[in-house]
Every structure is written in C-alpha cells, then in structure tokens.
Symmetry: C2
Subunit: 364 residues, 2 copies
C-alpha cells in the first residue's frame, strides 16, 4: 500500500473518523495515483472514499473507468451511473460508517447540503476537515523531488530558448504564447499558472497580465513561468533587459538578488517561514524600499503550484527537510516597472539545495 | 441602471432578502460588467454585494481596482486590503442587512463556515440560493445575441482554416494546439473548453482527450471546439473524413444529421427541452442505435459554455424566445469511432434561428 495512504488511515483512526471523502484533485492524485484533474469544482473526475481500515475506493463515472483502473492501483474502482450520492449512500451503509470526514476546502456549499441530507437519512455524523492530506504533502519524498527537479529543468530549458529569441517589438502576449506552446511541444502537461510576461510599467504589478504592448530595449522585463510535468509543478521568474540596463535598473537588480541570496542562506530545517521572509525582506528594507516589496517571499510547490509552506510574516511553523519552496523577492515601482527573481529550493537539515541552475541576469 | 440588476433587486424584495452576495464569476460579470474571471474558486477576483434597494457594491482587492472602476459602472468599488470578511462585516452592518443571500453553488463549504460565524456575530440570517442570477441569464437580449453570433462566426472561420490544412499523419494534440493558437491570434479571450480532436476509436468517447495518435485517411475525426469572445461562448462540433468515407460512415453521418435536423425543427418557444431531445433521439432509436447516443441533445450557451436550458430527458420546462442552445446528437461505436454534429440556435416564438452557417460534412 502507498505510504501516504497508510499515514492517512492512521490519522483517521487517531481522530476516531471511520472514513474520509477526498474531493480535492491533487489530494486524490497524491493518495491514489489517479492522474485525471477536475475540469472545475462542478465537474469532478471522481472522489476517493478511504476507510480508516481496509481497502480504499475510487468512485468515478464510466468516462474515466479505464484510466482509473490502470492508475489507481490498490484502489477498488466503483462507477456511479446515476451520480455520486446514490452510490455513496450504499457504500457508507455497507462500510458501516458512523463518522465521515470530508474536505471542507474543496466542497461546494450546495453539495454539502445534499451530503448533510444524506447523513441525516442514514444517521451518520459529518466532520468537515481542511488540510489533512495537504499536511502530508508538505514533505516530498525522493520520487517527488526527482519529478519536481525534472519540471524545473524543463522550465529552464524553455526559458533559455525563449530568451535567445527575445527581441524589442515582440508583444508580451506573443512571448507568453510562445512559452506556453513550447511547454506543450516539449511534453509538459500544461502551464502551472498563466504565464506572466510584463515589461515597463506593467511589470510594476506583481500579477501582471500579458498585454499588446511591445517590449522595449533597456526596460526590465519580468518573465514568470511554470509548468506541470508528471503532475509536479515548477515556478520560476527571471527579469531580463534587452540592450543595456541603466544604473537604476542595475542597482535594483543587485538589491533583489542580494535579498534572494539572503533568503536562500537563511532557509533550513527548524527555521520558520516567517524568519526566512524577514531575513530577505530586511535587505530591501535597509535600502529604504520595504514598501515596494508588497508580497510574501515564497510559497511551497508540489502537485499544486501554490501550496504550503508559506515564507511570509504569518507562518510561524518550523520548516522541515523535504519541503520545497520558492524564494522570490521583488521590487515594484509604479509607472517605472519591477524586478522579481524566483528560484526553487528543497529544505535540508542544515540548509537548502537549490533546484535552479539558470543564472540569466541573476548576477548583473 | 443595468436591466438585469433591476430585476435581481426586484427578486430580492420579493423574497424578503435584504442583500445578495454574488460570487459566481459569470454572474458577477453579467450584473456588473466587470470582466475579470476567477483563477479558481479559491482565488476570487471580487464579489458583488447587492442590496434590495440602493446602490450596489463591487468588493475586490487592489490588483483589480482600476479595472473594476472602469468596467463596473453603477457599482461602488470597495477594496479589502485584509481580505473579504472584515470589509463584509462593516458593510453588512452599515447597510443594516438582516437577511443575506449567498450563492450556495459557488461557495466553498469552508468559506460558508466563516460566513456563518460572521452572521452569528452580527446577528443576521443567511439564505443559501442557487440559480437566481442564472435564471435571468437564460434569456439573451439583442446585445448578448450579437456577441454570441460573433463568437460563432469566429469559431467557424478558425474551423475552416484548420480544416483546409488537415492531413493524415498530424496528431490529435497537434491539431488541437493549432486550433487554440488560432483562437488566441484572432482575438478570442480563450477556448471555452478544452478542444477535442479525436480520430478512430478515440472518437467513440464523447469527452475524448486529444492524444498522440496520428489522424488517418478514411476514419471519422471529431473536432469539437469553442471559444470565448467578449465574454460569450461558442460551441461547435464537426466530424470530418480525410479521403473517402466508407458506406458505414456515410450512413451514420446521414443518420446523425437527420436527427440534428429533426431536433432543430422541433426547437421553439413553448416546447420543453425534453421534447426536443426526444424528437431527435427517436431518429437514432428507430435505426436501432439508441444505445449509441448516450448523452443529452444539447445545452444552453452564454457567458458559460454549459448553462441552462438543457435539452435532455430531465428538462420539463418550456423553452422561451431568446434562449440559445446547442443541438448535438452523436453516435459512438466502441472500437470503431464516433460521429457528432453540433450547431447553435436561438429559440424564437415560432421556431429557431440557427447561428451556424458552416456546412462542412453536414450533408454528406
């Protein structure tokens, strides 16, 4: 049996829960190996029903039957020709479930009303949970790390190719489209988020959307891109200049890089996300630009491109070996532009191991 | 004030509700004109707070401030620097709300727990609703119809270009990617769903995912594609053959087209979705292939690519002028392949007006 599945069953017994209904797509994949994602929260590709002891189930519809059986080894696949609820009722009864947990953070309120009605009818107790499976996912095993590393490598390869072909006059949209096409052609499942290409004033927005503005020589251009390979995500940001950057640009580049290096140096097991954020932030604050760095230093990456642990002022929990995070300080100046540099790293017992090798414009 | 907004306020008064919280992204756009979508249900681009009388509000964060102010005319834009709930608490108090409705079908259970806590604290009653705004969206006005028509026209233009370049040996994935690139290059916001290109046995799955299999001469190839233009969706399916189709293929094509024409002929105001489905289905049933047509005849299209009204055995409600639906019968034969033909039409008082003009392989 898969290791994470065992650990979930132990956690269920611990909490006196008879069964867990898993609806969150990445949790479903993590526990079962079943790779289909949800088109939307309304159109589920299936749910896991995991009893505290005994065989787990994957409930889905006929469209996904073959893939479910092939991928979810160790799970019994059951089909619901008339929707989830009739099958669920039958199974909860036959499994003699008294206390059923469900994923409150990936469950529509309207669906929860139906579930509550069912629970009432067959007299079971419902327990809303958040983050039980996500908690396990924080620490990546060797196989997961290898997958993340391959995603990062493919990301860098594509970035480097695109960077070679970058020229003034190309629009942000055009370059973003080129990046996403390269991802698909080179075997990525999909982008892990909407690619950001932002030049000039548009780069002053941390979440810029690529527009029709042509890239210009001399201005900082933020390229923030990520892909999904074999289920696992990459996330990387470079800021580049076509032609010669001016002094202000060079100074800000160096400051952001200095903050990033400070963050990477502070990153290790036993330290909290809050402390790592603070160490990097102080570099920018000391230069009087603290207000221009308006987001957290980083976030966890795995099956989701944004997951735990956070590197920000709120996360007081200690980091542990095997966690994978981004370190991405930025400086954003309204009407001028912005600079952000983002690398990924694995936390180790005495420091961290960087996953990125690309050095484009990191050491200007 | 926008017409739909007035009608929602009337509906609220009717139900003795003081206020409606709108979270569903297309409902938000429909009522306010604010075009930003949600990245996911976890990452909202804002919510509407609509009192039964008086000025409506759009609550969002600083990233979206400018766009919100520009687009949501007639709405007051309020920012939530510390998240939605603190602002919501303040506003519900100052608006003296006693009964607050929210969109149960686009609201996470975990968020509803927070909302319930807030409601408790400030002593207001919560009323979960589903489909109140969607009900209004069923009937499209002239402006909406014009937008849908433009989306359909662009869809056909792209289909025809791709069809010209189609050749054996191209993979399903390759063609799907070409289609989606053409959409972006020609100004569509995005595909309205993941493009389906399915040849041979893969076409036997109504929801086939494009794979690495090369297209072959003689086999039916299903191309199901849709795009979003100015917020409104298109959805169109053609089945094509490279080279000469054999007799079986020709016979099945004609049968599916006959079913489609029967459905279009039956489509008019006052008839139920169930009846239209039945009329088309009978054509296929009479040929002894009823079991090979395993999905409903059609669905509504508008701001969402799948919305009401449904043309299927469950929908007993009468259709009305201004509703827009697909008519898409199909026949799927395991290990052989499938044929599906899909056009869109507007329901009128005495029939329907087809939105498609493309006739590729419709009259084989």
């Amino acid at each position: 049996m898969r290791q994470p599945l065992k650990r979930i069953q132990t956690a269920l017994k611990h909490r006196k829960l008879d069964c867990l209904l898993v609806t969150q797509p990445e949790n479903r994949r993590y526990l079962s190996g079943y790779t289909v994602g949800d088109h939307s929260i309304n159109e589920s590709a299936g749910v896991l029903l995991i009893p505290a002891t005994g065989e787990p189930y994957l409930l889905t519809d006929s469209r996904f039957e073959l893939q479910a059986q092939r991928e979810a080894t160790g799970f019994r696949v059951k089909l619901y020709p008339r929707g989830l609820f009739p099958l669920l009722q039958k199974m909860l009864k036959s499994l003699k479930v008294k206390r059923l947990a469900f994923e409150s953070h990936y469950f529509l309120h309207s669906t929860s009303l139906r579930l509550a009605k069912l629970a009432d009818k067959i007299r079971i107790e419902l327990v809303p949970l958040t983050g039980l499976v996500e908690e396990l996912r924080l620490i990546k095993d060797e196989q997961e790390l290898a997958k993340i590393e391959r995603a990062v490598q493919l990301n860098e390869l594509i970035f480097q190719e695109i960077f070679q072909g970058l020229a003034p006059g190309q629009t942000e949209k055009e370059v973003a489209l080129k990046i996403e096409n390269a991802m698909r052609h080179k075997g990525a499942e999909r982008p892990s988020f909407e690619t950001i290409v932002a030049g000039g004033p548009n780069a002053a927005l941390p979440h810029a959307v690529p527009g029709d503005r042509p890239l210009m020589a001399g201005e900082p251009i933020i390229i923030d891109m990520g892909l999904v390979l074999d289920g696992y995500c990459s996330d990387m940001t470079r800021t580049v200049v076509l032609g010669t950057p001016d002094e202000k640009t060079v100074a800000l580049f160096r400051l952001v890089r200095k903050a990033q290096l400070a963050g990477l140096k502070a990153l290790k097991a036993g330290v909290s996300g809050m402390v790592v954020d603070k160490v990097a932030r102080q570099v920018i604050e000391r230069a009087g630009l603290g207000e221009r760095f308006g987001h957290g230093l980083g976030h966890g990456v795995g099956l989701n491109v944004h997951e735990g642990p956070s590197l920000n002022y709120r996360n007081r929990k200690q980091l542990a070996p095997g966690m994978v995070v981004t370190v991405e300080p930025g400086i954003y100046v309204p009407d001028w532009g912005g600079i952000r540099l983002e690398n990924m790293a694995v936390v180790t017992a005495d420091g961290c191991r960087e996953l990125n090798r690309d050095t484009t414009f990191l050491d200007l």
